[in-house]
Symmetry: C2
Subunit: 388 residues, 2 copies
């Protein structure tokens, strides 16, 4: 971008829709508050200049502590206020203090406004919105309506149904040229400050700017209800898992595992193929018949993972046994592998199942175990022998 | 109810919004297709007379097989058609063949129309809708709008913003008096059959009946995107877990566990209190200091669970050690407990952590392990010793 791009993230709300005590932007997912994942969406983009996170006074210390533990370079905290518009106004006003080399360009700058509870926003959408705001003054992300919108009469009966195709749901991110959003918040009425929620409406009412509407992917979805935290957690786990299934002949099992992995898992027929596997793979499941070659194959895969999956990962050996397994020997193997992987961030687990059990319908169970081990990546599961 | 209540569940759609191959109503969750959970919401209510599930021709055999494995008494399969309205019409027409003792009441009957992909609908909402349909001819569930609804002009710019408070999102279930919905589908135009989706609109257009709108809880939410499958799975798991935390002094740990358990977990200070615990408890986590009393406390809890948690459950012993644990002894205890619980559906796991590790921030890890063990209830985890 040839102009500065600022982000305002209002996060001073209380999240009363969740049915939980915590404002949802601070709910922990995989050990970090949700808002961190949202900030990360902007922090990592080189064309984003600064990020203003608007926080309520009582959360200010907490948020500062979290930020101190992160590597974020662009984030500034701004004190929030009692309503969404009042908080965003504080964020927009905080932009006024630019670096020397920003000063000249500031009037050409763009302000992106986004919700702290939409942690999956993608670069493409942000780029389109920013360019549209620079050209037209304002822009907003829209999605098709999932439900029909209806209007009720005074007595609570259906008055009329909106034609679904004529309307869209307005989401964030939204973007504004800096002078437009600044002027809108200078002119805004007390009534709008207290009861309004939509920034596009302000640009229209106070600056006569019609926002360009941009169709966004579902990634802009908002964590609204408690169930959305489950979805967000699963998606974040899924995002960090890059699986490779080695030696899987059974398509039902592959399908069961893939249904949890966005169908992005690679497959290869032998562990020797790992050398030509993309380097981002970090979770390997290997299916072997009998216990003879387990140790060798596991070693080969573990070496590969230790070299490439430096952010952590897992190795799952699935042993298909024609006869009852020698448990003592398997325990020994599990123990050895666990010791070997101790220094690395790779969890090793062994699943053992007898062939006759397998064909009696263990597919769902194995699929569920494999994905739990890949997703949860709990080191407490490392070195474990699971008999299915 | 003093009249028959029929249910029509259109499930002939292809679910192309999911980004997965499978129509979402047939996606497996905890080993069963989603639609089974939805049918269960109606089957269990004594005042529901019959349930007509509308299925595409190619899924008919599959669905019949699933039904044969279930205990459902009220379900009939109806062949679907190319659009939502055509499929629902087939379902409504299938009602015409009542038992002899239904015949007289049929004209007073109510037809509930619901989506197969809304598996959490509650009895209270169904009852309200049914009574309203009986009184006013039609009724529908509504929810507040989560996003602002906007209209675009021809060039893709914001034309106007709807005042959010004046509109509602229309959901299912919806309910109709039998004569109304029957007449509506007799009079429906080809255009509506092909392009319409909203049944309330049909009652209004063809029978001049204004539907009574009923505010419903979020339970009526629809599984629309792939991420919703994660949320549905977690909620279904959560629904079957009734936890009791014994001897937990640390509120941070309780909070971490409760954040995954809808805060419904009971707490008691000692295992002896289990005798006065509600009988539906099926997942017990006990925190003990040192390894002396583990075996006794575990036995007491296990006996209790084996008696009461006949649908399965789990026992998790969390050992807080002041000094490095005697792993051999603990392995022995885990082994003994695992053998004891072998015949039952109760999984037993032991978590061991040293006190010094605990205070260094193992809270999130333990919370995550405990909820994984309670939620996933994988018997492969039973008898395992986890060193945190």
């Amino acid at each position: 971008m040839e102009f500065p791009v600022y982000v305002v993230l209002p996060a001073a709300g209380s999240g009363e829709r969740m049915g939980i005590n915590q404002p949802k932007q601070f709910c922990h997912i995989l050990g970090l508050p949700l808002i961190i994942y949202t900030i990360e969406c902007f922090e990592r983009l080189p064309w984003i200049t600064r990020i203003f996170v608007v926080i309520s006074l009582e959360k200010m210390n907490y948020m500062q502590r979290i930020l101190n533990e992160s590597d974020f370079q662009k984030v500034e905290l701004v004190e929030g206020d009692s309503t969404r518009h009042r908080s965003i106004r504080n964020g927009v006003n905080a932009i006024c203090n630019p670096d020397d080399n920003e000063q000249a360009d500031m009037e050409k700058g763009v302000v992106i406004i986004h919700d702290a509870v939409r942690p999956f926003v993608d670069e493409d959408t942000l780029r389109k919105l920013t360019l549209a705001a620079s050209e037209f003054g304002a822009s907003g992300a829209i999605r098709p309506l999932v439900s029909t919108t209806v209007a009720a009469d005074e007595d609570g009966f259906l008055d009329h149904t909106l034609v679904r195709s004529k309307y869209r749901a307005s989401h964030t991110p939204q973007a504004f040229s800096y002078p437009i959003i600044k002027t809108a918040y200078e002119k805004i009425s007390e009534d709008n400050l207290d009861f309004g929620t939509e920034c596009l409406h302000l640009a229209q009412e106070y600056c006569q700017v019609k926002a360009k509407l941009i169709e966004a992917p579902d990634d802009v979805w908002k964590v609204t209800y408690r169930r959305d935290l489950y979805a967000a957690e699963a998606l974040l786990k899924e995002k960090r898992v890059f699986p490779c299934l080695v030696g899987f002949d059974d398509n039902r099992l592959v399908k069961s595992i893939q249904s949890h992995l966005a169908e992005k898992s690679l497959r290869c027929s032998s562990v020797h193929w790992l050398t030509s596997t993309p380097k981002h793979i970090n979770s390997i499941a290997i299916m072997v018949e009998g216990e003879e070659n387990v140790q060798d194959q596991a070693n080969e895969a573990l070496n590969w993972l230790e070299e490439h999956a430096t952010d952590g990962g897992c190795l799952i050996m699935i042993l298909l046994m024609k006869c009852p397994p020698n448990m003592e020997k398997l325990h020994q193997i599990a123990h050895t592998l666990s010791n070997q992987s101790k220094g690395s961030a790779i969890n090793v687990s062994i699943l053992v199942l007898e062939e006759k059990t397998y064909y009696m319908g263990a597919v769902e169970r194995i699929g569920s175990l494999v994905t739990t081990l890949m997703f949860d990546r709990l080191s407490a599961f490392s070195g474990q022998l699971f008999v299915v």
